[in-house]
Amino acid sequence: MAPDMLVSLLWKAFLQTMYMVAAAGFIGSLIGLPIGIFLATSGKGELFPAPTVNKIVGATVNAARSTPFIILVVAIIPFTRLIAGTSIGTAAAIVPLTIATIPFVARLIETSIREVDKGLIEAARAMGATPFQIVTKVLLAEARPGIILGLTLTLVSLVGYSAMVGAVGGGGLGDLGIRYGYQRFMPEVMLAVVVVLIVVVQAIQSAGDMLARHFDKRTRKN
């Protein structure tokens, strides 16, 4: 394949991947965050006790997480059509990616929040904080490095998932690799795709690590 052709294909696929990852990551986190907070604070004797609802939401999240992504993509085609107007293409692919992101983010946020020292909740209660203030001023603030690392992991996973949505015409780097590199047997395309994916994942991970380290004051630096 001519180099300029390869570059233009790669660029287009790269943009599609970025678009899918960014959109699904953003919307999924937006919905996953409150669910994660709810999961972390609604157990028996916690800030907003609602143990029954907590169990139901928890079970739903588990169910969604144990469904293989490729099955999820196919299973929710009617829903995708309802939301995106179509079931194929990059925009349509964002729907299953987002659906898969929500429970993933929810659990990661929950874990980060649960790692916050219980003594801090106690101290905040002793100061007269409302449960809402405890969430915003204590839990989210203290869990921030963990949350950032969790979101980083989410984005990295999304890059991988986005390679699978070629199955519904989602496009993107993974799709390019399969169609040219595998089906048309062009190893140079496959190689180029893999290199770009490695760079993208590295970039996301480094940025996430850096941000998390910036907000993490738990240990003494230098």
């Binding site: 020292d117 003594g119 801090l120 106690e122 101290a123 905040a124 209660r125 002793a126 100061m127 007269g128 904080a129 409302t130 203030q133 001023k137 204590v138 603030a141 203290e142 921030r144 907000f215 004051k217 738990r218 240990t219 003494r220």
Partner: protein
């Protein structure tokens, strides 16, 4: 007509009163019921530093957590400055908590906030604006001696400095009562002393009432004017620190006391001590003299009264709640004659004595 006001006896005004407080945990489902507090009655006077001392698991934390409503009584009342804590709805409880500061064994500072921002937190929670907060926090940091550490994160501070920030934070809302749950238990002896000094200063200068719980006699004896001894959920002794510890009645008090009433015996002596006297054995006795008697020439009288064969094995002079006391560990022959003379002498002088055992 000339009316003369009746003479005022200075009756201590209570800041915190516990009335027949019972607290049980569990009892629902699988958990067996456990009585953590079993009919507690006590008063923490306004303006005083009151200590509650007891062993691990005695119910100290449970007791102090009832004061700001972090825990609810099963029955009985906890009254803070005239207000029954159990009667307060959630909003009233939050108002109360803003008037009651609390410090903790593990400091409980937010790792994500600087010293300054940690002290700001209770003020933010109370809804104060940035400018008011700034004006309040700086003097507090100065008060606890950390004006220059304002921008440091807790990870960059020592344990003692963290507790100072904890104290500044607890004082931020200008509370009338400060609760301290083992605030010095994670600190070394020297840092403990400096934190206790700070609490003393705050109590004196701001007139703040302090209720502190501890398992360390050292803490109570250094700063508390009042003390309650708690054992298995019951207050077993209660009163002014000096009175309680100069005439300890309960076994728990005695054993807590012997840990600090100086003069620890060398290992090689204490290892060989027997409970009962053998033929020709010597009695090892700890004598504690309080107040004025601490400086009387007791050893001379001891020899005069008991006999020439009195050995001094250990001794120390210290103070409790600012009053001096001394302690001596002596040994003398455990024959009936000497023992009787010793008992007579102790009865006359009112010395606090404790037979440690019998040795060769």
């Amino acid at each position: 007509m000339n009316r003369v006001a009746p003479p005022q006896t200075p009756v201590a005004v209570p800041m915190v009163t516990f009335e027949n407080v019972i607290k049980r945990f569990g009892g629902t489902g699988k958990q067996p019921e456990f009585t953590a507090l079993d009919g507690v009655n006590m008063v923490a006077p306004r303006g005083a530093i009151t200590g509650i001392i007891g062993r691990s698991g005695a119910g100290k934390s449970t007791l102090i957590r009832l004061v700001n409503g972090l825990e609810k009584t099963t029955s009985g009342r906890v009254v803070v400055d005239g207000v029954d804590v159990g009667d307060l709805p959630e909003t009233g409880l939050r108002d109360l908590r803003r008037q009651v500061g609390m410090i903790f064994q593990h400091f409980n500072l937010l790792s994500s906030r600087t010293a300054f921002d940690n002290v700001s937190l209770p003020l933010e929670i109370a809804g104060m604006d940035r400018k008011t907060i700034r004006n309040r926090v700086a003097p507090l940091l100065d008060l606890v001696g950390l004006g220059d550490k304002s921008d440091r994160y807790p990870a960059e501070l020592s344990g003692g400095q963290k507790q100072r920030i904890g104290i500044a934070r607890a004082l931020a809302t200008e509370p009338k009562l400060l609760l301290s749950d083992e605030a010095t238990s994670a600190l070394d002896p020297e840092t403990t002393q400096s934190i206790l000094e700070l609490l003393k200063t705050i109590n004196r200068d701001l007139g703040l009432t302090v209720l502190l719980i501890t398992h360390e006699m050292e803490v109570v004896k250094t700063i508390a004017s009042q003390v309650a001894v708690i054992d298995k959920g019951k207050i077993v002794e209660n009163g002014s620190t000096f009175d309680v510890f100069t005439a300890p009645k309960h076994e728990t008090t005695r054993s807590l006391l012997s840990a600090v009433i100086g003069a620890k015996l060398p290992e090689w002596i204490s290892a060989d001590l027997k409970q009962a006297p053998a033929e020709g054995a010597r009695a090892l006795v700890r004598l504690v003299f309080f107040g004025d008697t601490a400086f009387q020439p007791l050893t001379a009288r001891l020899v005069a009264e008991i006999g020439p064969d009195v050995n001094i094995l250990a001794g120390a002079i210290d103070e409790i709640a600012g009053e001096p006391y001394g302690s001596l560990v002596v040994s003398y022959p455990a024959d009936p004659d000497t023992l009787r003379r010793a008992d007579d002498f102790y009865r006359q002088t009112g010395l606090y004595t404790e037979v440690l055992g019998y040795g060769a």
